[in-house]
C-alpha cells in the first residue's frame, strides 16, 4: 500500500466503501450470469457490473489519487465515458445477433420478424 499512509481517514472511508460496493456489484452481475436461465435473461445481469460497478471503482480511484497526489486526477473519466457509450451498443448488437440466430433456427419462443423490418 504505497502512499496509503498519508491518506486521511475522511478519504480512506469513502474510497473503501466505493471499492467494496463496486466489486460487490460486479460479483452480483457475474453470479447472475451463472444463475439466470435463458440467454435473454442472462444478458441483463452483467450490466450491473458494467455501469454502477465500474463507475464506483472509477470514483474510488479518482478520489484516492486526487487526495494522495493533492491535485485533481480526472483521467478515469475517460474509461467511464467509454464504458457508458460502448456497453449498450455491444449488448444490443449481441442480442440482435442471438435473435437472428434463434429465428434462423425456427425457435418458437422468440417473436417472429416484423414484415419489412429484417434485422
Amino acid at each position: 500500500m504505497t502512499g496509503a499512509e498519508d491518506l486521511p481517514l475522511w478519504a480512506a472511508l469513502p474510497v473503501a466503501a466505493l471499492l467494496i460496493a463496486g466489486a460487490a456489484l460486479g460479483l452480483i452481475g457475474s453470479i447472475g450470469l451463472i444463475r439466470l436461465r435463458g440467454f435473454y435473461e442472462r444478458v441483463h445481469a452483467p450490466t450491473l457490473g458494467t455501469t454502477l460497478g465500474i463507475g464506483f471503482i472509477l470514483l474510488a480511484s479518482m478520489l484516492y489519487f486526487t487526495v494522495v497526489q493533492s491535485r485533481p486526477v480526472l483521467h478515469e473519466l475517460l474509461i467511464a465515458a467509454f464504458v457508458v457509450i460502448t456497453t449498450p451498443v455491444t449488448l444490443m448488437v449481441l442480442t440482435r445477433a442471438a435473435l437472428t440466430r434463434d429465428r434462423r433456427e425456427g425457435d418458437p419462443s422468440v417473436p417472429p420478424a416484423e414484415p419489412g423490418r429484417e434485422p
Binding site: L27, G49, T50, T90, V93, R101
Partner: protein
C-alpha cells in the same frame, strides 16, 4: 488506521472480483450456445478492467489505468466483432 481500512477494502474487492471472473469463466466454459460465451467474455473483460483499477489503487501507481483502458477497449472491439460474426457469419463484409 486509514492504511489498514484501505488495505482490507482492497483485499476484499480483489477477492470479490476474482470470484466474479471465476463465475464468468464457468459460463464461458459451459455455454451452452455461442452467444452465451460471447456475453461471458464481455463480462470477463469488464471484471478484468475493474481488477486492474483496484490493483492500481493497491500499488499507488497510475500506470495500471492505461492497462485498464486498453482492456476495456479490447473488450468492446472483441464483443462487437464476435456479435457481427454470429449474426452474419463474417466480420468484414465485402
Amino acid at each position: 488506521m486509514s492504511a489498514a481500512i484501505l488495505g482490507a477494502a482492497v483485499l476484499a474487492a480483489q477477492l470479490m472480483l476474482v470470484a466474479a471472473m471465476a463465475c464468468a469463466t464457468l459460463r464461458l466454459a459451459w455455454g451452452p450456445r455461442a452467444q452465451d460465451r460471447v456475453l461471458a467474455l464481455d463480462t470477463l473483460y469488464v471484471n478484468a478492467a475493474m481488477l486492474l483499477l483496484v490493483f492500481g489503487i493497491r500499488s499507488g501507481s497510475t500506470h495500471y489505468f492505461e492497462a485498464a483502458l486498453v482492456v476495456a477497449l479490447l473488450g468492446f472491439v472483441a464483443t462487437a466483432a464476435l456479435a457481427k460474426f454470429l449474426m452474419r457469419g463474417e466480420v468484414i463484409e465485402e
